[in-house]
């Protein structure tokens, strides 16, 4: 799965997610990706989310909307992501990762799987990582 979230110069947010699905899936199996609130969500009032991971688990907790719900309650993008991923693990033992932005330009890339390739561009800097805790930077 691949995905992106963005905030533009007018403060509008958007998300996009695309996937080939799960390895050796049944013909006709559809996971979280095309489902609003699961495989992505974007609302200028809250932020935008694009997830990746075990689709059935993501759908059971509506992961994208859950993260924005936590942000609506005042959590940062990173804290909301961690709380939602922890909830998903506790309830359905799901592994996933997310990229998140808020309308003020705050962002997060979080995951409870072993790895997630991610990159973030803002204010002349490119952040990227793959493993837990990695945050390398390059000039844009």
């Amino acid at each position: 799965t691949v995905g992106a979230v963005a905030v533009d110069s007018e403060g509008n947010v958007a998300c996009a997610t695309s996937t080939g699905g799960m390895l050796n899936k049944m013909e006709g199996r559809v996971g979280d990706t095309p489902c609003v609130g699961c495989g992505g969500y974007a609302d200028n009032l809250l932020g935008a989310v694009s997830p990746t991971g075990h689709g059935e688990a993501i759908m059971k907790v509506t992961l994208s909307r859950l993260i924005l719900f936590y942000m609506e309650q005042g959590k940062t993008a990173a804290d909301a992501s961690d709380q939602a991923l922890a909830y998903m693990w506790e309830r359905v033992q799901g592994l996933a990762g997310v990229v998140v932005v808020d309308p003020r330009g705050g962002w997060a890339a979080r995951f409870n799987s072993l790895q997630m390739a991610w990159a973030a561009a803002q204010n002349g800097q490119l952040h990227y990582g793959l493993g837990k805790g990695e945050d390398f930077t390059l000039p844009l």
């Binding site: 110069s9 996009a16 080939g20 699905g21 390895l23």
Partner: protein, 166 residues
């Protein structure tokens, strides 16, 4: 407002030999999407551009490089959502489309519906001039090997793709 764009290339366990390919791919996609934001384009334009690049990169499981289903075929899903209006478009189980994310955007912009699936999505693609591509062009040797390996009795495709908890 400082524009920002964040991309991911999938969660799971990335084999060491593909780690740098994955990192280079997400960096390239982030740079390209961010360049559009800097030129004044919309967040929607930026995320679709970034995801299109990732779909075209065989290092990732979307578009070219998609994992295969149990029959060795490619069925892809995609979604876009615009935070201004909550407009959204999606496709599911779509075949022989190079960039499902662009087709999802067309569903959002040109229909009254949120999601088109399978053959209906293909008919819509033809109607709006999105070309079909040979399925073989979406299948990589790496995807075929993983598919074959996980046909063996006792294999666990979900754990193979997702790995364990980090």
């Amino acid at each position: 407002m400082l524009p920002v764009l964040v991309v991911h290339g999938g969660a799971g366990n990335v084999p060491r030999q593909r780690a740098e390919l994955s990192c280079a791919g997400v960096r390239e996609a982030a740079r390209a999407g961010y360049a559009l934001l800097q030129s004044g384009r919309s967040a929607m334009d930026a995320v679709v551009e970034a995801v299109t690049l990732l779909e075209n990169n065989p290092a990732f499981n979307a578009g070219c490089g998609s994992v295969l289903n149990e029959h060795g075929g490619v069925e892809m899903d995609a979604l876009v959502m615009d935070g201004r209006t909550l407009a959204s478009g999606a496709v599911s189980a779509v075949r022989r489309i190079a960039n499902p994310v662009q087709l999802a955007r067309l569903v959002m912009e040109k229909t009254q519906h949120l999601c088109l699936t399978a053959e209906g999505a293909s008919k819509f693609a033809r109607a709006v001039g999105v070309p079909e591509v040979p399925e073989e062009t979406l299948i990589t040797d790496y995807a075929r090997k993983r598919w074959q390996r996980n046909l063996q009795p006792g294999s666990n495709p979900v754990e193979c793709q997702m790995g364990k908890m980090g």
